[in-house]
Amino acid sequence: MKIQLGILLLLISTCFASAQTLTVCKADCDYKTIQGAIDSSQSGDRIFIKKGLYKESNLIIYKKSLHITGEEGTIIDTQQNGYGFSVEATDIIIKNLTIKNIEVSYTKEYAAVLLFKSYDFLIENITVENAFFGFLIQKSKDGIIHNNTISGEGLAEADSGNAIHLWHCEHIKITNNDVRRMRDGIYLEFGSNSYISNNYSTENMRYGLHFMFSNDNTYENNTFKANGAGVAVMFSKKIKMYNNIFKKNWGTASYGILLKEINDAELKHNIFEDNTIGINADGTNRITYIENTFKNNGYAIKVHGACYDNIYSKNNFLYNSFDLSYSGNLNSNKFENNYWSNYTGYDLDKDGIGDIPYRPVKLFSYLVNRTPESIVLLRSLFIDIIDFSEKVSPVFTPENLIDNQPLMTQVTW
């Protein structure tokens, strides 16, 4: 009993005693190197790095709870040598630093900050330049990644990494980050209950945001612009996607969102503009698309096979080359109360709902599905004529694929 009490007292005393700040600078400080400060620190200490260029790499923090902050103008140059920080600890803060020149490797995932089994962390105001991986976070929980800027200079998918890469993580908040010119902007693999908001992801080679086997996540108010293939959500359940903007994702295999094997997701208030394909849905079940706007896309929505019980309601389809491309049976998917700019019907009883149903799939989009080269005939008079005759008496397009209550005016939210 006495021993136990002694240990407890010792613990408490070390806790209080360790609240000291270690200052690192090039001259006139106790510590000249960051690693030196880390090595002589106690758990719970603060390390303050004064401004200057520090040519250090592989800064290892092992089982020490540290709060590391930099002055404005603190730059850590890893000189293409391994990791920036390599951390395995609880209650970690890394703030206000610039880390640059991360080594490119084809066998190891070198990152500016590597967190392994770390809980309660905060990574804030970090600028990573010339990154291979930005933040690589593995088997960690309850963290915040806020207000960071990560950019890479890789030229191909093979020699570039992801800006923020989460592997087996839970309850992570990723907010207000700017990620560009990487492979994936933000990548969650086996991650759950995470919240991603207000990020700006652009010019990434593969996806702006990428989910793999990650359930119960939410992302909102993000902007994804001109990425190789927009956002990919794959093999995940219960993803909520609100108020995001997907813009200018152009290319032969480029989408606003690629949905692959997704169940029970919800898309609400998103804007899809100038994408080759707005949403590419393949094997998606029980997804609700409510109040989204699709504007000037090549295809607004492209539905492949094996999609069941999806509801498309109150969306705006504005001036897309094709509103919908559909393969397979209708499979209890529902289109209702959408606004279609191509709708030519009338509303005699003035209840705001068109009196004749709208068929979003045109014969031409069926033909283009079958013979892709026929896309060169887009907007030809002949195509308009056959589309019209198909509209009058459907033969090829699914007969029950109709919006029975198309809206007469745009949905606003």
Partner: protein
Amino acid sequence: MLKILKYSFFDLMRSSWSYVYFAFYLLLGIVLLFLNNDLSKAVITLMNVIIVLVPLIGTIFGVMYYYNSKEFTELLLAQPLKRSSIFLGQFLGVAISLSMSLIIGLGIPFMAYGLFKSNAIWDFSLLLVVGVFLTFIFSALAFNIALSNENKIKGFGYAILMWLFLAIIYDGLFLMSLILFEDYPLDKVSLIGTMLNPIDLSRTLILLKLDISALLGYTGAVFKQFFGTSFGLITSFIMLTVWVVLPIFRIVFKSKKKDF
């Protein structure tokens, strides 16, 4: 040649048909802008109209003008004038006056609506350039048909048939052959097929500006090169020029040999 051009031009400028044509475009422009309230959307609608109507009107005007001024042409032929300059002068007179009606008729409403402040100005100018090209191509083709046919009714018939073929039937046959041979690689064939029809060619040219996002959805490498770079734009313009030059050559050639 310039004198004949001038004469034909002012002759047409005085005729009521030019005014009707001009008024039609003026009205079309105003109505489109009034209904759409959006410049870029109006440009798309206008494209559909221009691609179909400009060739039709060019064809009919060309044939009509040739047959109507036949007596005058014969009078001119009795003078010491080069044959090529007589016919080229007449052709250019028709083509230029039609192009003017088009440009001014559409230009006025769009300018009044604030075209210069909008970023649709490039789309709109491309549209006008394509319209002018189509006018030249189809009035040249019409002159060819009229030169080859003494019979007015036959000449008109062939001219309308030519328009119908290039505007609608060609695309139908094109689509059918694409579906028929869908097992083969078709990207080159489909691009060549587009090049061989001036209406399709102009349509593609405008699509390059307006619907590029849909066109890029197709994965063929040839398509990607054609639509994704300025290569497509340049090739299309070269082909359009070829389409103007070839019929004009035939006018010169045919008129030299023709027995009046």
